[in-house]
Symmetry: D2
Subunit: 266 residues, 4 copies
C-alpha cells in the first residue's frame, strides 16, 4: 500500500469564550483539506491559574513546555487550569495547548495610536480567553480597572482582577468582574501560604465580597506551594487559586501542579 496521507496536522484554535466555557475549534488538516470540529471546554471552579510572570523558566520555548505540562495535569485530573504567559508568548502558547490562556494585563484603550500598549482585540485574536487585571506587580488606577473590565465584556474575555486586601476586594466586587483574586502582596513569592498564614484575610474577603456580588468567582493567591495550601484555600471558601513561583520555579512543575490539582478534590 502506498502511503498518501503524508501530512496531517492537528491544531486547536481557541476562538474566544462564553464566560467560563472555552470555545475551542479542533482543526484537522489532512493533505490541505481542513476539518473543523467545535469543542466546548469547561473552565469552572475549582480553578487554578498559573501566572508565568516574567520568569525565565516560563519564557519563550519554556513557556510552551510549561503550558504543555499544565495541559497534561488538566487533562489527567479534569481540573480547570489556565496559564498566563507573557504577551509575546500568548499566541504561541495558545496554539500549542487547549487549556485556557490568559494575558497578564491589558490596557484601557481602544484601537488606534497607542504605541507599546496591549489591546484587548490583539489578546483575543491570539486565542487567549481572558486577562489578569491589577496584579499587585501591575497596579492600575481605579478608573482604569473599571474601564478594562468593561472592555473585557465587549470582547468576551474573562476578567481576573487582583486585590490586595478585603476592602479592595469588596471595592472590586462593585465593578462586576468575572473573577477576583485576593493576594496579600507581602506574601507573594515567599512560600508562606496566604491560606494558612492569613486565613482571616480570605474569610473577610469572601464575606465582604458576597454582600455585594453573589456571582463573582473568588480565588486567593500568594505563597501557595503545596497541595495542602490549595486544600486550605478551598476549605476557607475560595473557588480556586492563583499561583506563580510555587509552580514556575518548582524543581518539577508537573508534579507540584498535579499535587495542587488533586488537592482540589477533598
Amino acid at each position: 500500500m502506498q502511503q498518501q496521507s503524508s501530512y496531517c496536522k492537528i491544531t486547536f484554535l481557541n476562538i474566544g469564550i462564553s464566560k467560563f466555557y472555552s470555545k475551542t475549534i479542533l482543526a484537522i488538516n489532512v493533505n490541505a483539506k481542513q476539518v473543523k470540529i467545535p469543542l466546548l471546554k469547561k473552565f469552572q471552579p475549582p480553578i487554578i491559574i498559573v501566572n508565568f510572570k516574567t520568569y525565565l523558566e516560563a519564557t519563550g520555548e519554556k513557556a510552551v513546555e510549561l503550558a504543555k505540562k499544565t495541559e497534561k495535569v488538566s487533562l489527567e485530573t479534569k481540573v480547570s487550569i489556565g496559564v498566563a504567559p507573557q504577551f509575546t508568548d500568548i499566541a504561541t502558547v495558545a496554539k500549542a495547548v487547549s487549556i485556557p490562556v490568559f494575558a497578564q494585563h491589558i490596557d484601557p484603550i481602544q484601537p488606534g495610536s497607542h504605541t507599546g500598549h496591549v489591546l484587548a482585540a490583539s489578546v483575543e485574536e491570539t486565542g487567549a480567553i481572558g486577562t489578569l487585571i491589577n496584579h499587585s506587580e501591575r497596579q492600575l488606577k481605579l478608573s482604569d480597572v473599571d474601564a478594562i473590565i468593561k472592555i473585557t465584556r465587549e470582547h468576551s474575555l474573562v476578567s481576573v482582577v487582583c486585590a490586595n486586601n478585603p476592602n479592595i476586594s469588596a471595592a472590586v466586587a462593585s465593578l462586576e468582574p468575572d473573577i477576583i483574586a485576593i493576594e496579600p502582596p507581602e506574601l507573594i513569592g515567599t512560600g508562606i501560604p496566604v491560606s494558612k498564614a492569613k486565613p482571616q484575610v480570605i474569610t473577610d474577603t469572601i464575606k465582604l465580597v458576597r454582600e455585594i456580588n453573589e456571582k463573582v468567582v473568588i480565588l486567593c493567591g500568594a505563597g501557595i506551594s503545596r497541595g495542602e495550601d490549595v486544600k486550605a484555600a478551598l476549605k476557607l471558601g475560595t473557588q480556586g487559586v492563583l499561583v506563580a513561583s510555587g509552580i514556575v520555579k518548582a524543581k518539577d512543575p508537573y508534579m507540584v501542579l498535579r499535587e495542587f490539582a488533586e488537592a482540589t478534590r477533598f
Copy 2:
C-alpha cells in the same frame, strides 16, 4: 521507492543581530530532516521602520499580512525596512517574515516577579531584533530610558529611542542608543510631514545630536505620508523615517511603502 517529498517547509529563524545586521537562519525542513543555513541580512541606512501601533488594520492576522507586504517592498527595492507590531504579534510576525522585527516597548526589568511587563529576553526569543523606546505614546522616566538602553545592549537588541524635540534628542544622544527618532508629537497622525512643516526641528536635532554622538543613526517621523516627505527627510540629513498611520491606514499600504522606499534613492 514510492514516497514523494510530501512536506517541505521553509522558515526563517531570526536569532538576534549584531547591531545593524540581522542574523537569520534559513531553516529548511524536508520530511523531518532540517537543514539550517545562516544568512546575514543588512539593516542599514536608509532605514524605514513601520510602527503598527494598536491599529486594528495591523493586529493579529492583519499584522502578518502587512509585514509580508513590507517584506515584499524590502526585497524588491533592497531598502532596509523593519516592522514594529504589537507584543502579542511579534512572534508570529517574526516567524512569517525575514525582515527585521521590533517591539514597540520593553520594560526596564530583569527576569522575575513582574506580572504584565515586557522582558527583553522574551522579545529577543521571539526573533525580534530591537525595540522602540520612549515613543511619545509610551513615554518613560529618564532613568528608565537609560536602563532600557543598557538592557538592549546586553541582549544585542537594536535600541530606537524616540524624542520630542531637538533638546531631548541631544539628551538621548548622551545615553548612546543605536537609533534616535525625532518626532514632534503635535504632528503625529496628522498627515502634515515633519520634514516639510518643521524642517528646522530636524536640522537642529542633527546639529545638537552630532555634537555629542557621531555614530547614532538619526530618523525622523510624524506626518510622513508621501514619497516626497521621505525624500525631504533624507535631504535634511536624516538616515531614514519612522512611520505609522501613513502606511498602516493607507488604502494600499504596499503601494505607499514602495513609494517611500523608492524615494530613499535620490
Copy 3:
C-alpha cells in the same frame, strides 16, 4: 491718654477636626499675651467645597482673597462651605479664614524619604481639615485610594474621594471614606451641570452607594454654574456639591457662591 495697647492680633488656629466638626482655636494676642478660646464649627450637609485647582485666579494672594469671600458667604448664610487651595497656599489660607480648608491630594506615604510628595502630617499641621482624593485630574491606583483613606483616619482628616461613575462610586463606598463626590469627567469645566444633564448618573450613584454604605456623605460635581444646578443636585438626593471653575472663574465669585449657598435652602 497715652496709647499703650499697640498691637492686637487675632488669629484662628485650626488644629484638626472630629469628623464633621472643625476644631478651631481662636487665639487673641494682646501685647504679647495670648488668650485661646476653643470653638467648634460644624461642617455638615448641605456642603459646598470649592476646588481652587491650579487656576491663577485662586493662586497665592488671590487664594486668600477667594477664601475670604467664601468665608463671608458661609458666615452670612450659615451654610458649610470649604475650600481646597493648592498645597503651597494651604497654610496661608488656613491662617486667614475660619472655614474648613482641604488639600487637593495627599500621597500614600509615611514620613521619611519621599522628596516631592505630600505628607498627611504636613497637611494636618497647616490647619487643613481634610483632603480631596482621586480627583479625575489626579487619579490614583485603587490600592493607593485605599491606603490614603486609611491615612486620613489616622490623622483625623476628612476624606473626599472623587469617582467618575456610579460603579466606581460604589467601589469607593466599600473603602469607607467620609465623603464621595461623583463627577463625570466629560462635564468638568463645561458649565453643563451634571445635575441637569446626567441626573441618572447621580441617582444611580446614590442607589448603588447606599446599598453598601449608609453613612458616607454624597456630593456631586461637574458643570455646576448656577444656584438652580445646586438645587437640582440636592433634589436628586445628594448632600452638596463640589465646584471649581463655576466659582473660581466667575466674574463675581462672591455673588455666585452666595447664590449656590442660598439654593441649598429650598
Copy 4:
C-alpha cells in the same frame, strides 16, 4: 512727644531671583508705615542645599526651626545654603528666613484644571527661588524634565535637576538646567558618602557634563554626613552638595551643617 515706637516688624520678602542672586526686599514696618529696601543676596558656589523631604523632623513648625538654623549657619559662614521644605511649608519658611528656598518638585503644567498638581506660579509667589526636579524619589519622564526646565526659565526659578549616574547627568546637561545634582540612588540615606565611596561617578559626571555644558553648576549628593565628605566632593570638582538625612536627622543639625559649611573653605 509721647508715642513710643510700639510696633516694629522686619520681614524679608523674597520676590524672585536673577539666576544665582536672590532678590530680596527688606521690608521694615514702623507703626503702619513700611519702608522697603531691596537687597541682592548672592547664591553662588560653593552651594549647600538641604532637602527636607517628608521627614517629620522638618515638617511644619520644625521646618521653620530647621530653616532658621540653616540661615544662622549661612549668615555666620557666608556660605550659600538653601533649603527645600515640603510644598505646604514653603510659604511659611520663605517668610521666616532670608536664605533661598526651593520647592522639592513642580509639575509640567500651565495654570488651569490640574487638581493636586504643583504650579510654578504658586511656588514663585511663596517666595521660593527655585525647585528640585527629577529627584530619585520623584522621577519624571524625560519630556517632563525638559518641560519643567523650560517653565522654570519663564518664572525665573532656579532649576536643580537630579541625575542617577554620569550618563543621565550628561543627558540632563543638554536640557540646560541651572544646576545638576548627581546622586547615586543606592547611597541615598545610607551615610556612605558618594564622594568617598564612588569618586569616579563624580569625576565621570563632571567630565561628561562639561563636554556638553560649561555653565551648569554641578553638585553631588547621597550619604554626605561629615565635613570631610563635603570637602572630598569639592576636591573632586563639584561646586557643592545636596544633603538631606545627614542634616535633618542629625542630633544637632546646626553643628553638622556648620561643619559642612566650614568644610567648603579649604
